[in-house]
């Protein structure tokens, strides 16, 4: 078991024939991910990297049974691509694109809370589901490294080889910082169930709590590493959830202890967040929830290994 992705996941790549899409889709295929389709409007009917290309996600899903999407579409069009995937019934949408305007994400989140509908008619359109029934859509990102279930499916831009199948769930707002933590875990012999980069944008498809809920429910995940950074209140909310609902051990690192307090958005952002969002407030909230907060990034792997040593003996 794992969360979000597994060996049966059928990936469609949006923005497939572009430079980033081509490069990273190739890496995902080489890792063993089942990339069953690509989408580039206007290039439907062609083949790319040995995979069929479609004009729309709907066509791709109908023809190939794709159930997860990986998005590399440029920022001006990425929000639309997310909605297109959702409308086509894609269950897990991973958006890598960096630089999507915040207002676009506000609109996407509102639309996903409702249910975007496909254009009806024209043949081949799946029948719309019962109104109000809803379709579970899980968006991860944007501006994230993606999701990987080691040894089964990689949907993202992370280097595959640093991962190892196992039982530690990792959830992070950062890219290379996640690689650093995963690399240390692997170095300690601690494999990962699934590694999820939720991205660093102000409005994200999934927040820490969304992913923690999945890890808590996943029997293969025995412990979780949470990697946060200053700004926003997602870490504080995660701490409240962990305290109330989680019985699995959680380890955390928060980047930005020495970041200067300047460059913030003026008064109003701070007012909404009620004085939280700083490194100190996040560490305080996490520690109050009984979470081990690692101060030195370089010791995160060793700290987790030491704490889990006895519990994990023989089941790494």
């Amino acid at each position: 078991m794992s969360i979000l992705l597994n060996k049966d996941t059928r990936l469609v790549v949006q923005g497939f024939t572009g430079e980033a899409g081509t490069f990273h889709a190739k890496q995902c295929i080489e890792y063993g991910s089942k990339v069953v389709a690509g989408v580039t409007p206007g290039k439907g009917g062609t083949q790319h990297l040995g995979v069929p290309v479609f004009n729309t996600v709907e066509d791709a899903a109908m023809a190939t049974g794709a159930n997860a999407s990986l998005i590399f579409v440029p920022p001006p069009f990425a929000a639309d691509s997310i909605l297109e995937a959702a409308a086509a019934g894609i269950k897990v949408i991973v958006c890598i694109t960096e630089g999507i305007p915040v207002l676009d994400m506000a609109r996407v989140k509102k639309a996903l809370a409702g249910r975007p509908l496909p254009v009806l008619g024209g043949g081949g359109t799946p029948a719309p589901e019962t109104p109000g029934a809803g379709r579970p859509v899980r968006l991860v990102g944007p501006n994230c490294p993606g999701v990987i279930t080691p040894g089964q499916c990689k949907a993202g831009i992370m280097p595959g080889y640093i991962h190892k199948p196992g039982h530690v769930g990792v959830v992070s707002r950062s890219g290379t910082l996640t690689y650093e933590a995963v690399w240390q875990l692997t170095g300690q012999g601690l494999g990962q169930s699934t590694v999820v980069g939720i991205g660093g944008d102000p409005i994200a498809g999934s927040n820490f709590t969304d992913i923690l809920k999945l890890f808590q429910a996943d029997p293969e995940t025995k412990a979780v590493v949470l990697i946060g950074e200053i700004g926003g209140t997602a870490e504080e909310e995660a701490a409240a959830y962990i305290k109330a609902e989680m019985d699995k051990p959680v380890f955390a690192f928060i980047a930005g202890r020495t970041a200067p307090p300047g460059r913030r958005m003026g008064h109003a952002g701070a007012i909404i967040e009620g004085g939280s969002g700083t490194h100190a407030s996040k560490v305080k909230a996490l520690e109050a929830a009984g979470i081990t907060v690692v101060e030195n990034l370089s010791s995160i792997g060793a700290t987790v290994a030491k704490a889990l040593g006895a519990a994990f003996a023989g089941s790494r």
């Binding site: 490069f23 990273h24 890496q27 920022p75 001006p76 630089g99 305007p101 915040v102 207002l103 506000a106 609109r107 989140k109 509102k110 831009i157 992370m158 280097p159 080889y161 640093i162 707002r173 950062s174 890219g175 290379t176 910082l177 996640t178 690689y179 650093e180 690399w183 660093g200 102000p202 409005i203 990697i227 950074e229 200053i230 209140t233 909310e237 980047a255 930005g256 202890r257 020495t258 970041a259 200067p260 307090p261 300047g262 460059r263 958005m265 003026g266 008064h267 109003a268 952002g269 701070a270 007012i271 909404i272 967040e273 009620g274 004085g275 101060e295 030195n296 990034l297 370089s298 010791s299």
Partner: protein
């Protein structure tokens, strides 16, 4: 991007929001007479155009009753160095001074539109108790702050605007002008892809008119592709080095320490700064060369770091994911050959082909210190710095 007060007020005026009569902006006291004429009869207010709150307390907002007073103030204010509670100890130079006709104030109101990250939508924030520091009010009397969640496409609904007006105690005859004002404020937020549009204070004059006495607009850099007019404006906040970095896709922020840092990825860059501090050092900058860390970016980053005279050691921390370590090592080598440097250089590489990368650096014969881990690198940078200083 942050806009200056006068830029924000120009936008307000375009959207029909009442602003004080303006004499425009002067960059030299010699331009004052013309500005006073344009602003109408005195008294006038002269306001330093800098991107920081707390200007009043720092001497950046002054009232002049006569042209002679105005001239004395203008002479002192143009070019003055200003430190406020929002400048973090750094002095800002006042290049521009806004000249406005003074307004009579009966009441002050705080009002802003901001992005509510938690609610994932824009929100109007307002308080009838304007004039006091709004951050303090948020802590001491949170119930005094009104919040109106907005739709990210539609902006504020008329019933929301009316309800807000009644809750703020807007005079009955100004109900329409207030709802038009707050509707325009929300429209500006959406039209400009803003992350903050703030009016502090919105005043009610003795004859019950509303006027936006100050203005602040912060916009979303990600939306510049569709905000052509904004994209052409000068960025008042970034230093020359920061602008140069931006051009080549590097995210650079200058800091006060002496260990220059080059890292790929923003989170890892922050964590590297934290690690340097834990090892007893002080980072000279935040620098994210981008996830890919191409040879061009590494070279540019190296040059930018070394332009800062405070830098007495450089720490490179690259986690080569998709970008292989041998390629990054070559980038570092070519950068080092192109850019002259005299300070110790500590390199920590990790990731794909790390052995080849380390081998390349070792063989190059260049004066650099290789590190095995981030902690090792931070410690080596701090000790190299101490030796360099002796």
């Amino acid at each position: 991007m942050k806009l200056l007060e006068y830029e924000a007020k120009e936008i307000f005026a375009k959207y029909g929001i009442p602003v004080p009569r303006s004499g425009g902006v002067i960059t030299d006291a010699a331009q004052l007479a013309e500005a006073l004429k344009k602003a109408g009869d005195g008294p006038w207010v002269l306001k330093a155009q800098v991107l920081a709150g707390g200007r009043g307390k720092a001497g950046g907002v002054k009232i002049a009753k006569t042209p002679a007073e105005a001239e004395a103030i203008a002479k002192a204010m143009v070019g003055m160095k200003m430190v406020t509670h929002q400048t973090h100890g750094k002095a800002l130079t006042v290049a521009e001074v806004l000249v406005n006709k003074c307004s009579d104030i009966k009441r002050e109101i705080y009002i802003a539109v901001a992005m509510d990250r938690k609610g994932e939508r824009p929100m109007v924030i307002a308080s009838a108790e304007g004039g006091v520091a709004i951050e303090e009010l948020a802590v001491s009397k949170p119930e005094a702050i009104l919040k109106v969640p907005l739709d990210a496409v539609r902006g504020i609904e008329p019933f929301q605007a009316r309800s807000l007006a009644f809750k703020l105690g807007i005079p009955a005859k100004e109900l329409r002008s207030f709802t038009a004002f707050v509707t325009a404020l929300a429209r500006i937020f959406i039209d400009l892809d803003a992350s903050l549009v703030e009016v502090n204070p919105l005043i009610i004059t003795p004859d019950d008119k509303i006027v936006a006495l100050d203005g602040k607009i912060v916009t979303d850099d990600n939306a510049l592709f569709r905000q052509k007019a904004l994209a052409e404006r000068p960025d008042h906040e970034a230093t020359d080095l920061e602008l140069e970095a931006k051009k080549v896709g590097i995210n650079y922020i200058g800091l006060d320490g002496d260990i220059g840092c080059m890292v790929n990825g923003a989170g890892l860059a922050m964590a590297t700064m934290d690690t340097v501090a834990l090892a007893g050092g002080m980072p000279a900058n935040f620098l994210d060369v981008g996830g890919g860390a191409t040879t061009e970016q590494v070279t540019a980053a190296f040059r930018i770091i070394l332009t800062d005279p405070k830098v007495k050691a450089v720490l490179i921390n690259i986690f080569g994911g998709i970008m292989k370590c041998d390629v990054i090592a070559q980038g570092v080598l070519s950068a080092v050959q192109k850019v002259e440097f005299k300070v110790p250089l500590i390199v920590r590489l990790e990731g794909t082909n790390v052995e080849q990368g380390r081998e390349l650096l070792k063989k190059s014969g260049l004066r650099l210190t290789a590190a095995d881990s981030l902690w090792d690198a931070a410690q080596k940078a701090v000790s190299a710095l101490k030796e360099n200083k002796q």
